[in-house]
């Protein structure tokens, strides 16, 4: 029985068709802050933001589940991305040799899961790679057909991820390896879409703002230009048609988070990187266990089975120590995740992928495509899931008790930024 003052491990405000009526109903009766937090769900869709560092209030009490805390910032961290990645692969190698564990790499053809494949191919022997299968879909083949031909087809057993969720893989004895946190290490696609529409945001600004913003367009990863100089454009990027104040409201709330953390955030890309490295990180880490799994208890799935490739302390330290040096992004989409591109190129020597690969929304596409909800009631459907309590029980939006919990907390939520 969920009580109003209980603490959650995870929550999701989402407009997915199934939950729209509920959230719109709550919004009607909510105060300013409650409306804002629901509108954030509409704008970001879903709003699963949870802070790992600095202040970011939610309507309800929230704690981080163990192992997802942010490591201490270490400006002297000196390992390269390649070194960290090779070391990660050696951990898998050890689990194969010492415990004969079997692994299913969730492969999308995107940069993150291709990094995983490259690391395993580089660091494991042919014999050890027999413990690795590739769970994938047709999306992956067309996203990186050259890699598919050269390194996967005929070399690994292939499982159809379109018909296998994590629970099925686990029941078959495989530990799923997901690269779902790759974006967290390099920055968010929310930034990419803003950079690429930069000129469109300038169109109806006054002459002074337009000139000023045009002059710093090429400095999104420069430590000479503070993100606050882009405030006008950020606010427009997050604006909502029905609420002209929303963009600024979001900006101010997030700046408060930045200013109450002790990790250096300076450039515009730092701003967007921090968004996913800090407040979106938990979602990337555990959404698979919650939404892509129906039968295995969430706690068991997270801690005993699923391996989040990028959720290592060294990856996170690398990420915090490598801002604005070209390792995360140059100016646009085709240089995003540059350190990962270099790591892949070292193996596949494909200059096209290196120079032109673009971050795609692989996960959303694959999972929507993959949903097989046979045996679930409507109320247990992934689209009906709201969150996790501190015992890792899934909370469902149709549960009256959960609805009361949400209403009571949203209605009393007050603006603190």
């Amino acid at each position: 029985m969920l009580k109003k003052e209980d603490t959650l491990y995870f929550s999701s405000i989402i407009f997915n068709g199934y939950q729209d009526n509920f959230w719109n109903g709550v919004r009607e009766e909510a105060g300013e802050a409650g409306k804002f937090i629901i509108d954030l769900g509409k704008r970001i869709n879903p709003n699963r933001f949870v802070t790992r560092h600095g202040e970011w209030s939610l309507p309800w009490k929230q704690e981080l589940p163990p192992t997802f805390e942010m490591p201490e910032y270490d400006s002297m961290f000196s390992k390269s991305f390649s070194q960290v990645t090779d070391e990660r692969a050696l951990e898998i190698k050890k689990l194969i040799n010492e415990q004969n564990q079997k692994f299913a790499v969730m492969y999308s053809g995107g940069i993150d899961s291709t990094i995983v494949m490259c690391a395993l191919i580089k660091n494991l022997t042919k014999e050890e790679l027999r413990n690795v299968v590739v769970a994938t879909s047709s999306h992956a083949i067309v996203e990186n057909p050259v890699f598919w031909q050269k390194f996967i087809y005929g070399k690994f057993e292939i499982l159809d991820s379109a018909s296998m969720k994590y629970d099925k893989l686990i029941e078959m004895g495989y530990r799923p390896i997901t690269a779902d946190e790759g974006d967290c290490i390099f920055g968010t696609a929310l930034g990419l879409t803003m950079y690429t529409n930069y000129d469109a945001y300038l169109v109806d600004m006054d002459q002074e703002s337009r000139s000023r913003l045009a002059s710093i367009k090429g400095k999104i990863t420069s430590d000479e230009v503070h993100y606050s100089q882009y405030k006008d454009i950020i606010v427009k990027h997050f604006s909502q048609p029905h609420d002209p104040t929303f963009g600024e409201n979001f900006y101010n709330k997030f700046v408060k988070n930045i200013e109450t953390s002790n990790v250096p955030i300076y450039s515009l890309h730092d701003f967007f990187w921090w968004m996913i490295f800090n407040i979106k990180y938990l979602n990337c880490s555990i959404r698979g266990a919650i939404y892509f799994n129906d039968r295995i208890p969430v706690k068991t799935a997270i801690y005993d089975w699923i391996i989040n490739w990028f959720n290592g302390a060294d990856y996170q330290r690398w990420s915090m120590a490598n801002n604005n040096n070209g390792e995360k992004i140059g100016y646009g989409q085709s240089t995003y995740k540059m350190a990962g591109r270099k790591y892949i190129y070292d193996l596949d020597k494909n200059p096209w992928y290196f120079h032109f690969k673009v971050k795609l929304e692989s996960l959303g596409g694959s999972i929507v495509y993959a949903q097989n909800n046979t045996g679930l009631t409507k109320e247990q459907h992934p689209n009906a899931r709201f969150g996790l309590d501190k015992d890792f029980n899934i909370l469902y939006i149709d549960d009256p008790n959960v609805q009361d919990f949400i209403r009571e907390n949203v209605f009393k939520y007050e603006k603190d930024w």
Partner: protein
Amino acid sequence: MKETKIYDKGPGSRKEPWLTGNLSQHARFYSAWYGKKNANAIYAPGIDRFLLTDNFDLWLTMETARILSSKVPTQVFLLGQEVPEFDNTNCLETTIIDKRKFIINGSNILTARQVPSLHALREPNSVANVGIPRDYQTGTHKEMLHNLRSYSLFVLRNIHALAIADSTKNITPFEEMIKDYIPEHVPNIKLPQDQSLAERGIKKEIKSILYTSLSIKEALEKIENVWYNYGYNLPEFRDMYYYFMGLEIPMRLKEQSVDEKYFTPRAV
């Protein structure tokens, strides 16, 4: 392989005939083209510029974009009359100003898909020349942007040349017809794509080469091998393909002889 010689030496001809635009054989083939402005374009979200424009068949532009998606995500735009004119000399400097409204299955085109969907661009202020993308102004990125342009136009020319030659010279395009039109009644007999010796037909072999090759040189070598190994019985089909490519027929293909005991100019 000997270096392929350039067939097209007409006005504006450069080293690579697919860079000669509408001065080439394939452009003259489309007799309904009266020199109108560009009609279709392929946009590459990754570089945020147009890769190429074309005046002719929209669906061939679409297929070109599909093939190029093995190298770079692509989207196809039908250009309205109001859209400011740009062409293959400046498309890499030309972008769509506001990409926010182009959505595929809930995602913006910038991050939605590797493979192309079709969109229409009609507004007068929708595109602008903003220069070469900043990430591609120096070093290997600059070099690869040049390669991308060449490869894109090379694929486009191939798709035109194949479509023209196949439609003109292939008299047995039966496999697709039978499998698509009467799928419940496909017999267990050989269903040809064409009269070549290639299991999947010449057209599909070449498209597969275009999709998987990493350079024009690699593709041209493989295409020559396909004709050499599987298409020597179809000299007219082959010659027409090379003609519309703007390339001279490679010498070893010219020198191939056809054993008339097994191959006749007639289908039956």
